[in-house]
């Protein structure tokens, strides 16, 4: 029957075979290398967000300073918020997902290795696009982009367009990654790795991925509506034609509040891994911690309007959202008590990761307490748009998410680098961080309650805000010193630190059962799991306690078929990047010419990818 004269093109570009050097990083589909790419990229983006923050703090160090103009200041706080949330914390979490999930569940890679590479390159394209918008004027409407500040009349520059389109690109990357991890965790668990034996970090990743899958389409729709308003004169947020600016707020926060848990749940997962190891105790109430995480994710959908208490939704809405917001503190509190229960009576070793995790508990608690204060809608009316809110968000996201991520960076450093860092310098970093963030962020509570509005580029003398603003700015330099210590410590030791043993912390989960760094195929033999904290149990059960490391022997691996490298994920991501630029600069040469070229590249990439076998016969 295959005789119809339809020519099927049989063009096959040879796929990369055993590439080396830089090229190997462009074509890699190894989850560990992608994890490292994510981590290093996101760390640089984190530093760029830090530079933006530093400029803002310098401007606010004293009254009526002129270091940056009001217009630049608006761009700074918008880009700082967007960068830290979408380009720093989310991809730093993604770095851990990538590197650790297959190791923790006993798999050789993720379910879709090429999709994983696609996620990274797409994320990189979106990140570059957003940061490059500083050339010519970045977005300046706040990270939540409230209508009508983003309308074409109010804001005709390209900054908003860059912000919209790059967030769409980042959304595609996040969604692809979330689909991948959902399938990986459901479907690639080693034999015996039942749901209630999953490491906590894997559990929190799973919950986070589900939140991503459900939350991102909402912001996608909101951004599409905004795009149509700006490009084609639609009426979604056009009040003159009956549109409602409050609709934007609803759509944004229906996404935005689950997003908060997308940021914090992986951090909670990291802390739940670190605390038991350095306390030499199992996690207290494992099932409760898992359940609390799931409840937080579920209830995260019922609280979005607490961002809108002063919009005027009415007493019923405000009351309901006050109650749900208060309720969500319950599962969070459960987690807190479980962590404290974990370290209670343990043989505590205060290594750097442990210090950061303990710091997380303390700082996150402070952020949680101010969070409960916002939850009371009447009280919130006093705090809305004051510095009290940045104080809260920095305690939960810097003191919370970033502290936990740093804990994870130190904890798994021996695993991903194969080297040991300097414990002394790590501790110096910790103390600089603890002092620096409290000096920086705690005074914001005072000026906030004293009525200092957020998002103002300067303030008059004699308002009583001078002292605490100067203190906050001074704190930034302590933080900078801390990060310099960290970069020096980790950078130097990654290259020529002492070689790390496979299991330096006497760990509990499977990633510590293989060599540091793990071989490309992770496990010589897929492990068979018999218990929660399987690796710990294995070590306890073995007679002489000298347990052979199962990975990295380099022999007997000839029959393990790893997925082969591929160009196409990079090509598809490139097509999206070109297309995204084409949408912003839609009037070059011919309307939407560049967008069309990007679309064609994407289509070629998608087709070639679909027709490319996972493995070519060698």
């Amino acid at each position: 029957m295959s005789s119809l004269p339809i020519p099927i093109p049989n063009i096959r570009i040879p796929r990369p075979v055993h590439p080396t050097g830089i090229w190997s990083w462009f074509t890699t589909i190894d989850h560990k290398r992608i994890g490292i790419l994510y981590g290093i990229t996101a760390f640089f983006l984190f530093l760029s967000g830090g530079v933006e923050a530093t400029l803002m703090r310098l401007q606010l160090a004293g009254p009526e300073l002129g270091i940056v103009s009001a217009a630049i200041y608006n761009q700074l706080f918008t880009m700082h918020g967007t960068t830290m949330i979408f380009l720093a914390i989310m991809p730093l979490s993604a770095a851990f997902f990538n590197y650790l999930i297959p190791l923790q569940i006993g798999a050789r890679d993720v379910a879709f290795p090429r999709l994983n590479a696609f996620s990274y390159w797409t994320f990189l394209g979106g990140a570059l696009m957003l940061k490059l918008s500083w050339i010519g004027g970045a977005t300046d409407a706040g990270w939540f982009g409230y209508a009508p500040l983003t309308s074409i009349d109010q804001n005709p520059g390209k900054g908003i367009d860059f912000w919209i389109i790059s967030l769409q690109i980042l959304g595609i990357a996040s969604l692809a990654s979330a689909f991948n991890f959902i399938v990986t965790i459901i479907n690639l668990r080693a034999p015996g790795m039942t749901w209630m034996r999953l490491p906590l970090f894997t559990w929190m990743t799973f919950i986070t991925a589900i939140l991503l899958v459900l939350a991102f389409p909402v912001i996608t729709v909101a951004l599409i509506e905004l795009t149509f308003d700006r490009y084609f004169g639609f009426n979604f947020f056009n009040v003159a034609n009956g549109g409602s600016v409050v609709l934007w707020q609803h759509l944004f926060w229906v996404f935005g509040h689950p997003e908060v848990y997308i940021l914090i749940l992986p951090a909670m997962g990291i802390v739940s891994e670190v605390l038991p190891v350095f306390s030499k105790k199992p996690l207290f109430g494992y099932a409760t911690v898992v359940l609390a995480g799931a409840i937080i994710a579920f209830m995260g959908w019922m609280v979005w309007s607490h961002h809108m208490f002063t919009v005027g939704l009415g007493p019923v809405a405000n009351t309901v959202f006050t109650i749900t917001t208060m309720l969500i503190a319950v599962p969070t509190g459960i987690k807190m008590f479980n962590w404290i229960g974990t370290i209670w009576g343990g043989s505590i070793k205060l290594n750097t990761p442990m210090l950061f995790s303990l710091g997380f508990i303390a700082m996150f608690l402070i952020g949680g307490l101010s969070g409960v204060m916002h939850a009371v809608s009447a009280h919130d009316a006093q705090q809305q748009d004051t510095y009290f809110v940045p104080a809260h968000i920095h305690y939960v996201l810097f003191g919370g998410a970033i502290m936990a991520i740093l804990s994870g960076i130190y904890y798994w450093f021996p695993k991903y680098s194969g080297k040991m860092y300097s414990e002394k310098e790590g501790k110096i970093h910790f103390w600089l961080m603890m002092i620096g963030q409290n000096v920086t962020f705690f005074p914001m509570h005072f000026v906030g309650l004293d009525g200092m509005p957020r998002r103002i580029y300067t303030y008059a003398e004699g308002m009583g805000w001078d002292l605490w603003n100067a203190v906050a700015t001074a704190g930034v330099f302590i933080l900078i010193a801390g990060f310099l210590v960290m970069i020096n410590n980790l950078g130097r030791h990654w290259r020529n630190g002492p070689t790390a043993p496979s299991d330096p912390w006497d760990g509990r989960t499977l990633e510590w059962s293989i060599s540091s760094p793990p071989p490309e195929h992770n496990f010589d033999e897929i492990p068979v799991v018999t218990a929660l904290d399987d690796w710990w149990v294995t070590k306890q059960d073995s007679q002489n306690r000298a347990v052979p490391v199962s990975g990295g022997s380099g022999e007997e691996t000839h029959d393990i078929h790893m997925p082969q490298a591929s160009y196409w994920p990079f090509v598809v991501a490139l097509g999206l990047f070109v297309g995204a630029y084409g949408v912003v600069f839609n009037d070059l040469i011919f309307p939407y010419l560049i967008a069309g070229i990007g679309l064609i590249i994407t289509f070629i990439g998608v087709y070639s990818w679909s027709l490319e076998p996972v493995n070519d016969p060698e």
Partner: protein
């Protein structure tokens, strides 16, 4: 439907999976869950703005339920055709597979054709005296806007309105965005189905052992149909025959 397929070609990894379910099928379901939220947000926007347009035309002015019913019927039949294509493939009847795939694509394209017709007729909608009288008889609905339009039409004996554009009012904005994105989904599905149809002429690409490739396209196609049922009910039917009191 089969839960696990022994894909002995190199297209699918046939390694151990925890649940025994195929990776790609699970990914498809996760994607559809995500897409539900996408359409959910669009439909929510439509409903929030329902009845909030400051000027006409309104749904009752432009919707032609019999016409859209026909295109809805065609789209639903295309789902059945998709089922038959899949069944033919699993029974190794490759010619049947091709016929039913082609018919699915044609019915999908017919639906898109109806949509193009609908969009163009809405955007050139105008009121004249006959339709004014007709509407009174048909729906018994005669609001101030229509009254004004009809009064003008009677006076001038000309078209009095330049149609429903996305920029005209909130109804145009939300209607074209929602149905336009649904149409884009259908178009993507047609491209997918045609790709599979063409691939079936290449040896070894579409075989009963590799029916998952078709299964995934079918899953997507049925989903897009189901979304249309919601849109047709909520937007079209409730738009013309509103609930009492709404």
């Amino acid at each position: 439907m089969a839960t696990e397929v022994n894909n002995d070609t190199n297209h699918d990894d046939h390694e151990y999976t925890t649940t025994g379910l195929n990776h790609r099928k699970m990914l498809m379901w996760a994607f559809l869950g995500s897409d539900c939220m996408f359409f959910g947000a669009l439909i929510a926007t439509y409903l929030v703005y329902q009845g909030k347009s400051l000027v006409g035309p309104y749904p009752v002015d432009v919707f032609d339920i019999p016409v859209t019913s026909v295109s809805t019927f065609v789209l639903l039949m295309s789902s059945m055709s998709m089922v038959l294509a899949y069944a033919a493939l699993t029974q190794n009847k490759i010619s049947g597979f091709r016929i039913w795939m082609a018919s699915t694509a044609i019915m999908g394209a017919t639906f898109i054709g109806f949509q193009v017709y609908e969009f163009s007729s809405f955007s050139t909608f105008h009121v004249d005296i006959e339709s004014c009288n007709e509407k009174i008889v048909k729906h018994g609905i005669f609001d101030e806007y229509e009254e004004e339009l009809c009064a003008n039409a009677k006076e001038d004996h000309v078209e009095t309105h330049d149609g429903l554009q996305p920029q005209t009012n909130l109804f145009g904005t939300t209607f074209y965005t929602l149905t336009g994105f649904h149409g884009a989904h259908v178009t993507l599905g047609i491209i997918w189905i045609l790709s599979l149809l063409f691939l079936s002429y290449k040896k070894g690409m579409i075989t009963p052992e590799r029916h998952l490739d078709v299964d995934l396209a079918a899953l997507y196609w049925h989903f897009v149909d189901v979304v249309w049922i919601v849109i047709f009910t909520v937007i079209y039917l409730f738009g013309v025959f509103p609930f009492p009191g709404s």
